[in-house]
């Protein structure tokens, strides 16, 4: 069976790894739907039958109720959070690809900077949140919200950079020899091979990068308290309003999964020569 066939059939080539799927597409969708429904029914049943206090252990219906009540505030807050996350994400994306290209083209520079890049990528960058807010606040107290943008870039940039580096370096010896043989220039190497070979890696980075940008923004809002979903969620702690907390999680989760799914769709359209996966190659 050729890769094309297996793609149109929606089945997997054996030995592919990832979460493998052997049934027909319809069964899979049905099972997935059933899973969600079962979860909701089970949750509702437990809450109702045990007579749990809805303030502490809300049922799905209570959560929907809470969602409805917080909806106006939520829609006010969302644009602030999304703007910071999306703008920060795009900046980090462009910056990471550009930096990776420069570094791969200059191997010396790459070797010199690699320990630093790996180092920054392995430490908990999120711990710098208060410092970032402090610095941004130092420049202009009225623009503290900009710290959330900076946090999105700071958290998302390095993993995306490493993904792009891995992608651009993902070139086998035979192809490398071929390029040397035809005397391809560095730019030609990128144009004809590296940019394409790097795509699957870059897309994997883009998927987790978006989630990371959201994480950076939300934590920024947690700490700085600027208006947004993050500060809304942290204020719920004092009010012990668990229903609202879950409602906020659902909204942000759907937006985030939606974006990740969108990126995945673009990826599988663009990279037709190999299989893509939603959660990347982990």
């Amino acid at each position: 069976m050729t890769a094309r066939d297996s793609r149109t059939l929606g089945s997997r080539v054996p030995g592919g790894g990832r979460i493998s799927i052997e049934n027909s597409r319809l069964t899979r969708w049905a099972l997935s739907g059933l899973g969600v429904i079962l979860l909701l029914v089970f949750w509702q049943a437990v809450a109702t039958l045990l007579g749990l206090d809805p303030q502490y252990f809300p049922s799905p219906i209570d959560v929907m109720d809470a969602l409805q009540r917080t909806w106006p505030t939520l829609t006010d807050a969302l644009p602030h959070t999304l703007a910071a996350a999306v703008v920060g994400y795009l900046i980090a994306l462009v910056l990471s690809i550009f930096t990776a290209m420069v570094l791969v083209a200059n191997e010396r520079l790459l070797n010199a900077l690699m320990p630093f890049i790996i180092g920054v990528n392995t430490v908990p960058r999120i711990a710098l949140t208060p410092l970032v807010i402090y610095w941004v606040g130092f420049i202009s107290l009225s623009a503290t919200f900009l710290a959330n943008y900076v946090m999105a870039v700071w958290v998302a940039f390095f993993p995306m950079l490493i993904a792009a580096l891995d992608g651009f370096k993902n070139i086998d010896e035979a192809t490398e020899n071929m390029l040397a043989m035809y005397g391809a220039t560095t730019w030609q190497e990128f144009k004809f091979v590296r940019l394409r070979k790097g795509l699957p890696f870059i897309f994997d980075g883009m998927k987790s990068g978006f989630i990371l940008a959201m994480i950076g923004t939300v934590v920024g809002e947690f700490v700085s308290g600027t208006f947004g979903i993050g500060s809304m969620a942290s204020s719920v702690i004092g009010q012990i309003a668990i229903g609202r907390a879950i409602a906020i999680v659902l909204v942000l989760g759907f937006i985030s999964s939606g974006v990740v799914f969108l990126i995945y769709q673009i990826e599988s359209q663009l990279i037709f020569w190999q299989e893509s996966s939603i959660m990347g190659e982990e």
């Binding site: 890769a3 020899n177 071929m178 030609q188």
Partner: protein, 280 residues
């Protein structure tokens, strides 16, 4: 540069007069500059001249430096000592003409996102952009179609590499090397990963193409029968560091066919070659 005049006008030493490819006292030592690794002497004092139109095979145990030898002729690797010349021009010099040399790799190097046709035109794109070859793209497109039928890939022009079998992918790699019409073809165990049937088929096809296009071929293999079947001359390399220890003229009649493999002379030559190998 005109090919015919090379020999007569600037022949200073006898060896390079007729030879198209020549290795002059070539050594290759890997990892000499980097202190971290130990250095590996891959080739030692290799002298080899290949005439225009000749089909020469190099055989030797694995790891003896066959690929190294070829990569130096292709300009991918630099020799540690000595020079490799094509048409009397050092491969490493600026005057080296890339369009004179084609390389068929051991494994297919077709890019997965390009169709067969586009893969075939990749070398042209790169070489043209860099001013190494002339001619307009349409000329090469026509040539691509000719080559596709030459190697029997009709109907697969718009297929992607992962829709092709290993043998077909290797045909694509072969056409990639032929597209800009180099006079030298370097082949590194091109059929090594194929099954015996496909290999035999492609052997015949290679001879046919060689005959039609009058290429000079330097062919690397570890299959002794294949070497005897294809070549005018077989060169035997010793284990590492690779040195030329033997050369055997293959005086089998041409054109050769599947029947050639059954002739007495073929068996004789193959046996002789095996003996040489045993002595290593």
């Amino acid at each position: 540069m005109s090919n015919q005049t090379t020999g007569s006008s600037q022949g200073t030493n006898a060896a390079s007069r007729e030879s198209l490819i020549s290795f002059n006292s070539v050594d290759k030592i890997y990892g000499r500059d980097s202190a971290a690794e130990e250095s590996v002497a891959a080739l030692e004092d290799v002298n080899l001249d290949i005439e225009r139109g000749e089909f020469v095979s190099v055989v030797g145990p694995s790891g003896c430096g066959k690929s190294t030898l070829l990569h130096m002729a292709a300009g991918i690797l630099e020799s540690t000592n000595g020079t490799v010349e094509i048409n009397g021009i050092a491969v490493q010099s600026d005057e080296h003409q890339r369009n004179e040399v084609g390389l068929v790799f051991q494994h297919p190097v077709a890019l997965e996102w390009r169709t067969v046709r586009k893969n075939l035109l990749l070398p042209v794109q790169i070489l043209k952009e860099n001013g190494e070859i002339e001619g307009d793209m349409d000329h090469y497109r026509e040539r691509a179609d000719d080559l596709i039928s030459l190697v029997g890939l009709e109907g697969f022009e718009s297929s992607y590499p992962n829709e092709l079998s290993g043998g077909m992918q290797q045909r694509v790699t072969l056409t990639q090397a032929l597209i800009y019409n180099p006079s030298v073809l370097l082949m590194d165990e091109p059929f090594g990963s194929l099954d015996a049937m496909t290999k035999g088929e492609l052997n015949l096809e290679l001879l046919r193409i060689w005959n039609e296009t009058e290429k000079t071929i330097l062919f690397i293999t570890h299959d002794l029968d294949e070497a005897v079947f294809l070549s005018d001359r077989v060169v035997v390399l010793s284990p590492r560091p690779g040195q030329i220890v033997d050369e055997i003229e293959i005086d089998l009649e041409r054109p050769r066919s599947e029947d050639t493999r059954g002739t007495e002379r073929f068996v004789e030559l193959a046996t002789e070659l095996r003996q040489h190998f045993k002595r290593l």
